[in-house]
């Protein structure tokens, strides 16, 4: 049993293919015979990596002259379908990213096809693809399938699947015809800025040390940075302290930030709002330090310390420094 063909929207991350895209490719290859990729920009740099992860072809838009990906990719895909350039796939899978959501949203209108969002697993029920989505902060899972004959569009959350190299041959690069986008194409990127952080990437680190409102004040966040440095960990943060301007958004773990699944997650002064739990409760081991014994974070902690972060953290940092 398997599907004939799945399309995947892939994104670049620096010079490589984004990990979310490689994760989706692994699942797509598992459930379908043929996996083809759609991507903004030029495909030559990525054809080898995409092929190695199971894609046979990559359709690319070419230079977008600064236009955001959403309208360009959706318009090119819909136009190609309309022109009969493609055999329709059984499903189109995208990542829950800024641009993934833009492409999915615009394409769903163009094809009048619904979207199943926040998918963390895909499986078969008979010969239809079924998505699993956590609701109510992850306490409940619902399984959803499409009932129409439209292309099923799925938005998959990061870290739902494991990327896997298959040793496949370099993917064929095919140019897409991008029609005039009209007003929708007039949102243009004029400049890009990276918020550099030291140490490992938050969504790839083996250890993550995160701070929340319970740290008390912005200056106390230096304890998170210090402990992270000693452990070779990535520092993270809750939405509450990102919103308060203590640290940039690139630190944020949670529903509206990054999903992390490190070997060890240390939550310091974090109460455990569902918004945050959704982004970290897949961690293999969770250590929580919080002075409120009723804090929801303790429900997911493997080791919970009921105590004052301002007392526990300095001693922890000193003890590790002395080793």
């Amino acid at each position: 049993m398997g599907l004939d063909k799945i399309w995947v929207f892939a994104e670049a991350q620096g010079d490589s293919v984004a990990s979310i895209s490689l994760e989706i490719l692994a699942k797509a290859r598992e459930v379908a015979d043929t996996v083809e990729v759609f991507m903004a920009g030029h495909g030559d740099d990525h054809a080898e990596e995409l092929g190695d992860h199971g894609a046979t072809a990559v359709y690319v838009t070419g230079d977008l002259d600064g236009s955001l990906q959403g309208s360009a990719v959706a318009t090119a895909v819909a136009a190609g379908i309309e022109a009969g350039d493609f055999d329709l796939p059984d499903a189109f899978i995208l990542g829950t990213t800024q641009d993934g959501r833009d492409v999915a949203g615009r394409l769903s209108v163009k094809l009048d096809a619904p979207v199943i969002t926040n998918v963390v697993d895909l499986e078969f029920d008979g010969d239809t693809l079924v998505g699993t989505e956590p609701v109510f902060g992850g306490s409940t899972n619902v399984k959803t399938r499409f009932t129409s004959d439209k292309v099923g569009i799925f938005l998959v959350r990061p870290k739902s699947f494991e990327a896997e190299s298959t040793g496949g041959a370099e993917a064929d690069v095919e140019d897409l015809d991008v029609p005039d986008l009209g007003a929708a194409g007039e949102a243009k990127i004029t400049d890009s800025f990276a918020e550099e952080t030291e140490g490992p990437r938050l969504d790839e680190a083996a250890i993550v040390v995160s701070g929340g409102r319970g740290m008390g004040e912005k200056d106390a966040f230096s304890m998170i940075e210090d402990l992270a440095k000693i452990l070779g960990a990535a520092p993270g943060a809750t939405r509450a302290i990102v919103d308060s301007g203590w640290v940039p958004y690139s630190y944020q773990v949670g529903q509206t930030g990054k999903v992390v699944k490190p070997t060890v997650y240390i939550a310091s002064g974090i109460s455990g709002a569902t918004q945050h739990l959704v982004g970290m409760k897949g961690s293999k081991n969770i250590i929580a330090i919080n002075k409120d014994s009723e804090a929801p974070i303790f429900a997911v902690a493997d080791l919970g310390i009921i105590g004052d972060v301002h007392k526990v953290m300095p001693k922890l940092i000193e003890a590790l420094n002395n080793r």
Partner: protein
Amino acid sequence: MKVVVCVKQIPDPADPGELDPDTKTLKRDVKLILDESDSYGVEMALQLVDDAGDGEVHLVSMVPNNEVSGLRTALAMGAAGATLISDECLSGSDALGTAKVLAKAIAAQEPDLVLSGTESSDGYTGTVPAQIAELLGLPSVTFAKEIAIDGGTAKVKRQTEAGYDDVECPLPAVVSVTAGVVEPRYPSFKGIMAAKNKPVEELTVEALGVDPAEVGWAGSRQDIIDIAAAPVREAGEIIEDEGDAHERIVAFLDELKVL
């Protein structure tokens, strides 16, 4: 400048309710409040209209019953009026059905700018802003963390995985704003009193001009085939700090061989 803000009334996240096992929709017998994610769009809209020197903020929202308490909060913050599409047939609507309804209501307002949150705090699909833009044939900039209006152009700092992009976009346009971009004001007593008399136009889906078959469960063209409790993590070891809890943490990290 006329700014339309999409707002959603949701059950209080502190008491998120549950799915009705029969209808597979959210039980909405609890009082609905303004989604906190939308309060940033409302505040941003009020500030942009202030900066422009004239204009107004208009709200659009939809709900399967005639609940307005969340809208009153946004009106009390300073929005001038609201369009509420209130219809039982909206129950079970997915993002695309929602976007079809909101887009129709937005078009009637002929706005210069449409603002929304990036995602609701209960459904968090995050696709509605792009869908609305596509339905209206407008450019969109999602995940804005800063917006400035310069003549007929929106200058937006758009969040990315790595940092942010500067994006320029001619108006009219749809912009979704991330939480925390502005500090939403608390409604004043005067604002709350004034909100009681502000116009809220209530429309059914048909009166709006949308086919009821395109919204609600039927319009979503999806089937929930299973609802189950997610696996629960095994209870861990919880200790109270007596001044030596850091030693337990070090020992735990040693056991995991990560030091």
